[in-house]
Symmetry: C2
């Protein structure tokens, strides 16, 4: 049985990898094709009439966005937004209802195709993480809530720990698929999403990530033969900047530090604005119903269309760079291809519109154009500033609407824009070879993500993997160090703020300093603890469950010598199952036999279905007679919960929660005696075995 359990774990990891890889592929193909058709049609019609071109463009966008918001609001409300704050909550022990349902998965995939294809200022990367997590959870339970396999094998995974492990794999798979960054995915899952780490899990997460990479590569290899329409150009590395700057001089460090400061400031501003807007939406706007949500998104889509079409229209075209001096540059780009130097509303054919190159384009291509190396002076400072202001505005109003929305791509766009600006400044200031604007754009992107999301190692590795430029690692790090420090001076990270808004109690990695002066008993809410005697009246259990919202209750036994003993902790969810089943009600208050309840419940009865809300006490119907019966709680308790002494410092308690991923810790009075002290040596297998041999 152990062998098949291990085999199954690895098989599941394989399936998660394959599933997430395929989903990412499907989303990419769909988005690229919708965008491709959209831009082709618009360009074609624009030749005759600009107005008709705009109408087609806007209609395409609004239609796609409407399809997205309609699916989300009607069928999968949990698919809105990024999903990462909720996943962080789930992996730290706080469930948000519905985030791992099958319908959420479908809503997330279809919704992000609509919202990204519809040209909104958001990305598909965050939703892909959520998609990976949904796939993992569904695989773990053998299907959706309604239709599922329930074999003996699958049932082994119906416990909290294995599920969380699977979802962790899913998160890593999502990042790996989104950025084609397997190592970055592993680090993201471990650094950002979970707060604990186990070596065995690490290896499985890594395996999943690698499978995703293989899947995506295989699928992309298949696409190079023209099987996927507009999708298929480009290699495995998303934004390859390996032609960029290889080395750096000391005088370049100050503009890079400047990027860090700008990233910190703008990131913190972005977090604050999105927080305020999301809070307004949650508390006012979105309470008015789905119709308001739909209208809101459509309005945002219309604004986006107007700006991304109209502003480049007002922009003056630039003559193409000298083809003799720069023989590698194709300017303007041919109509059918993606690339730099977009010809948009230009009087001559040897001109390009620099604003259209980044604004009137898919986000992936816009970033590629911003990162592009060896294209000095492609953009004018005025165009970049205009784009920065407008796109920052669009990204701010778009996040929080009822569509799947990732923050990576908008963050990279904003950062790359001011990064490129700073790069232009440096090029003009030093007039030296070897300074590349594209490299500054990359560092700018890192700085904004660092200033907004406050991720560190995983972000660094992801940036290296998406650009395939290991040489820049120390520079990316410098920029991230500064931008995170600057951002932290103002507010919390983006995901933490969003989690706070949703009332998900995430524990930060560093406990606050004032916790040191407090002890465990200071964290206890009430002076009186709510506990049950071993054999309780059904009615009193029900009334307690109705009156308090606790999820865990100590169970106390009255010993024959008059003393009491704590026999364990019983969970609300388990009590609800027992109350609903009614099989264990008894007429008298005498404790039953220990083995009485065996085989009455299978282990899965006590597992809260991962993807639904679970039972509530108000769903349980009991007759007056049943209310007068008794229940022996002993078989249902967790007999050894983690305990701390009342005067343990809260910092230690905090670390206990974080490092072990706990949900409950029992506070006990200062012990009156100690039975012994266990050290590491005592836990070595050979020591334990020899000791037990001696005592036999």
């Amino acid at each position: 049985q152990l062998g098949s359990y291990v085999t199954l774990k690895w098989l599941f990891a394989l399936f998660i990898g394959v599933g997430t890889g395929l989903s990412a592929f499907a989303i990419n193909v769909a988005v690229e094709n919708f965008s491709g058709w959209k831009f082709l049609a618009t360009f074609a019609i624009m030749r005759h009439s600009y107005l008709a071109g705009f109408v087609i463009y806007a209609l395409f966008n609004v239609a796609l966005v409407f399809s997205s918001v309609y699916i989300v609001t009607s069928f999968a409300p949990a698919a809105a937004g990024s999903g990462i704050p909720e996943l962080k909550g789930y992996l730290n022990g706080i469930d948000t209802p519905g985030i791992l349902l099958f319908r959420t998965l479908v809503g997330k995939i279809l919704g992000s195709i609509g919202s990204v294809g519809g040209g909104l200022a958001l990305g598909k990367e965050g939703p892909l993480v959520h998609t990976g997590a949904c796939i993992a959870s569904l695989i773990g339970q053998g299907g959706s809530t309604k239709y599922y396999l329930n074999s003996r094998w699958i049932r082994m995974f119906k416990n909290d720990r294995d599920r969380r492990d699977l979802v962790t794999c899913g998160c890593a798979a999502g990042v790996s698929a989104a950025f084609r960054a397997p190592v970055g995915g592993v680090l993201f899952a471990l650094e950002e999403v979970t707060s604990w780490w186990r070596s065995q899990l690490l290896w499985r997460v890594f395996f999943t990530s690698a499978i995703v990479a293989v899947m995506v590569r295989t699928a992309m290899g298949w696409c190079t033969h023209g099987n996927c329409g507009h999708f298929g150009s480009g290699g495995f590395i998303i934004w390859d900047t390996s032609g960029g700057q290889e080395d750096y001089s000391f005088y370049e460090l100050w503009p890079m530090a400047l990027l860090g400061v700008i990233g910190g400031l703008l990131g913190a501003l972005f977090n604050q604005l999105t927080y305020m807007l999301s809070s307004y939406r949650r508390n006012v706007l979105h309470k008015r119903g789905n119709r308001v949500k739909i209208i809101e998104v459509c309005v945002v889509s219309l604004i986006t269309s107007v700006l991304s079409f109209g502003i480049p229209l007002l922009n003056k075209c630039t003559p193409c760079p000298d083809p003799v001096k720069y023989p590698d540059i194709v300017c303007p780009r041919p109509q059918q291809h993606y690339g730099n130097y977009v010809l948009f509303n230009c009087p001559k054919d040897s001109q390009y519109n620099d604003l259209a190159t980044i604004f009137f384009n898919t986000p992936d291509d816009a970033i590629r154009n911003l990162f592009s190396t060896k294209t000095v002076h492609e953009y004018s400072a005025r165009s970049l500033l205009t784009f920065l202001a407008l796109f920052f505005f669009l990204a701010t109003i778009t996040y929080g609407t009822a569509v799947p929305a990732g923050q990576f791509v908008p963050g990279i766009m904003i950062g790359a824009t001011y990064g490129r600006l700073v790069g232009m400044l440096v090029v003009n200031l030093y007039k030296k070879d070897g300074i590349d604007e594209g490299t500054y754009a990359l560092l700018g992107a890192a700085s904004f993500l660092g200033g907004s999301m406050r991720m560190t190692v995983s972000l660094c590795v992801i940036m290296v993997e998406i650009t395939n430029n290991l040489q820049l690692l120390p520079l990316i790090m410098l920029v991230l160090l500064i931008s995170k420090a600057v951002g932290d001076a103002f507010n919390m990270g983006f995901y933490e703020q969003q989690a706070y808004l949703r009332q998900i109690p995430l524990l930060e990695s560093r406990p606050k300093r004032f916790l040191r002066k407090l002890s465990a008993k200071d964290a206890l809410h009430t002076s009186k603890v709510v506990s049950f005697p071993r054999v309780s009246k059904v009615g009193s259990i029900v009334s307690v469950l109705r009156s308090v919202s606790h999820n865990g209750f100590p169970v106390i036994e009255q010993l024959q010598n008059g003393e009491t003993a704590v026999i364990g902790l019983v969970l609300r969810s388990h009590l609800l199952v027992v109350l609903q089943t009614k099989a264990d009600f008894q007429h008298g208050p005498t404790p039953g036999h220990e083995n009485r309840t065996k085989n009455k419940y299978s282990v899965t009865d006590f597992v809260k279905p991962v993807s639904s809300k679970g039972l509530s006490i108000f769903d349980v119907n009991l007759t007056a007679v049943e209310m007068e019966m008794y229940l022996d709680l002993q078989p249902f308790v967790n007999p050894s919960p983690y305990i701390v002494s009342e005067d343990m410092s809260l910092t230690k308690v905090y670390n206990l929660f974080r490092q072990l991923g706990l949900r409950h810790v029992c506070v006990v009075p200062r012990p009156s005696r100690i039975l012994g002290v266990i050290t590491r040596k005592d836990l070595l297998p050979e020591v334990i075995l020899s000791m037990r041999f001696l005592t036999l």
Copy 2:
């Protein structure tokens, strides 16, 4: 104060990075130059007489190895071996005396220059990890044990936790310097060396790693101008295989799986042989004194010289590949350079000796030659098999001698050899383009390291970083998965075995299954716990410390109502300091005032000097009068040690130790009542603050 503490932490990380980077650079320059002179001299003299050439070669080797073993045995015995098992022990709470001394650092650096320069079958990578850790520890205590700064700033770091953090940074810095693999270094430190992980630490470790990369790169850039003698060729990537195989077909999977199996088998065999040899050396040979150790190493060095000179001499030369067909290949290589196709004892100038190319060379170059791409059929199967057998033998007898010795390079050599063999087989079998023997050599290297060291993610990332070939990630992983699984079927990993031999109780990442059925009280050695009353007689404390070897003792107070209360845990090391100081001895058994002992001790008095053996009870001299005095232990206890209930499952206890890095856990009787249950929500800063506001 908080600000300067944080600043200092980062400064220390910077210094560790700079120091480790410089040490690695110094070792590299010295080793390459010694080797360069050695080979140049040997080749020059060989033109006149083979015998004289051999004598020079052997003398050079024995002299370097003798200097290494002399330094190690006379001044720095803790510098022998790899150091990684001891570091794992240290970071998991078990100190090995002397591993972090200044003299160990010096011995490690000089010793590895001698042993690697002297051509022994070992590497400088493991010792570099130890070097980084020593540097970190010395920086943390502001100097060596004798000479050190003792400013207010440094004293803040004189605690266990900050020291372990610094040493973790040092380990990562060492790997980063050894392989120029910053991300691999971070993962190595976290996966392999420590068993716990904290997000804040992660970021600092990463910073250190990146600083090392910058240092090494800067130093190497300086060397390209010919400032460093024989050192200076080659880029930042040690063994760049980016010209190798980019893609793979499905039929290549079985030979890769085969590599995994071979790696697992040979790795397990290697572990077993080195374990038996080390055990023999520890228990018999090395007990006979330093002279035996020195003779042993010199004999091994002589054997190595004879084999690496003589065996290529017996080998028949191969004609160079057709210069028309392969215009890129320089064959034979010019005398002054390193490279493939070594001309050694060949009758014609258009021939090369394939065995000398790998055997009569520095290890780094040999590996480069084995990994080399687009050099089909460079080696004959007979040469590779000969080399494999001989080098496996040499690596086995060399490890465990009294010189600093890393296992990475020998492992890579062995693995690359059979990898190349399998690659030749595949090339001959399928006769297709795009199959590269060098890529198989790389996978073979990964498989042997996986089969011997059983590392996973960090090894994978290190292999990718040393070869700069991200494409191969999934293949490396496949090979590692198989080789680790095969190896695990036979014995423990290399470092675990060596730690076991040194009686360092490392807790494996996965608790054994039988622990589930046991509870905390089963791990208690004796039925009676050794505890002290709050006010104890000095004499009884001394006699207890002499009679038992425990490191932690519960302190019990007799309350006025006749009950007892545990007031905390006192450490042996703290007791020894108090006994030696004698300042707190009192004449009567009444407890003193609480604040009495303030200012008598500075916090550093209680810190065991990290790099020496610490006090022993037999160092403390007390008069008969003092023995009759009393000591109030209350000021010296840790008032809130971690506690577990007697019936908590040992698996949970095990995880508590591992995840929190604990040394002691107190076992208490099942509690009779519970004061309350803390949940995650209760620990949110805003919840605690609002509650405290209410209770005011």
